[in-house]
Amino acid sequence: MTTGFDPAALLASAKGGHIVALGLRFVAQGSDWCEFAIDYDRRLVSDAASGILASGPIVSLMDTAAGFAVWTKRGGFKPQATLDLRLDYLRPSRPGQTVTGRAECYRLTRRIAFVRGVAHDGDPDDPVAHLAGTFMLLEPK
C-alpha cells in the first residue's frame, strides 16, 4: 500500500479505547477507503428479545471506517474531527451476523473531507446501512 498510512500499525499501538471495547476489526484498505467489521455481541443489542444489534455500534463502525478512510487519503494519522454523519438504516442486521462497513473518502479539500459508506451483514448487495458524512481537517494536508 502506498498511502503512507498503515491502519494495522495504528491499531496495534492503541492500548484501549472504544474501537477495542467494541471489538472493531480492521479488514482491508484501498487508496481512499477502509473496511472494518464488528462481530455479533449480545451486549450490543437494542432489544434482548429480538437480539438485533443496536444502531449505535453501527455508527461507531462507520465513523471509524470513515475516519480511517480520511487518514488513508491524507496519507497519515493527522488531527481531524467528525463534523457530521448521516446513517440510513435500510433494514436491521441479522442477529448473529458480523457487520462489515466500508467507507470511502471521495473528496478532500484543504479543510473538509467528504465520506460515504455502506454496511452489510454478509452480502454487499443487500446492505443494512448507508453512510454520508464530513470530517474537519485540523491541520492543512
Binding site: 443489542v45 429480538s50 444502531s55 475516519g67 457530521d84 448521516r86
Partner: protein, 135 residues
C-alpha cells in the same frame, strides 16, 4: 412520565438515567477509557450511541401510565452534528420528541458535558415504531 428501561447496549456504554429535564429522561454516560477514540477524545460513535438511547428513552417517556409499551423502535435515519470535541469526562443527553405518531417518531436530541448551553453533539432521529404484535 412512565418508567423507562434502557437497552442492553446502554449498559455496555455505562449509561444511566439521572433524572428528568423538560419532561424527558436525562441520561448520563460516565467517562470511561473504553469510550475514547485514537486521538484521546470521546469516540463519535459512543456519543451517537448515547444520543440514540436518549432519543428512545424520550419516546418511551411519552407513554401514558398503563399504556402498552411500543416495544420496538427501529431507527430509519440518524443525522448527527458534532459541534465541539468530546472531552474525557461525563456526557449528558436529553431528547425532545418532536412528534410521535402511530408509525414514526421524530426526535431531536442533544449532548453536553459540563454546561448544558455548550452542546457537543446534536442529532435528529426518525424511528419506525413497530407494535409488539408485529415483531
Amino acid at each position: 412520565m412512565t418508567a423507562v428501561t434502557l437497552l442492553p447496549y446502554a449498559d455496555f456504554l455505562g449509561i444511566r438515567i439521572q433524572g428528568e429535564r423538560a419532561g424527558a429522561p436525562l441520561l448520563v454516560m460516565p467517562f470511561s477509557e473504553g469510550l475514547l477514540n485514537l486521538q484521546g477524545g470521546l469516540h463519535g460513535g459512543a456519543i451517537s450511541g448515547l444520543l440514540e438511547i436518549a432519543a428512545t428513552a424520550a419516546i418511551d417517556a411519552t407513554l401514558e401510565e398503563g399504556e402498552d409499551p411500543r416495544s420496538v423502535f427501529k431507527p430509519i435515519t440518524v443525522t448527527v452534528d458534532f459541534m465541539r470535541p468530546g472531552l474525557p469526562a461525563d456526557v449528558y443527553a436529553c431528547g425532545e420528541v418532536v412528534r410521535v405518531g402511530g408509525r414514526v417518531a421524530n426526535v431531536a436530541v442533544s449532548a453536553w458535558q459540563d454546561d448544558p448551553d455548550r452542546v457537543i453533539a446534536a442529532a435528529r432521529m426518525n424511528f419506525a415504531i413497530t407494535p409488539p404484535a408485529e415483531k
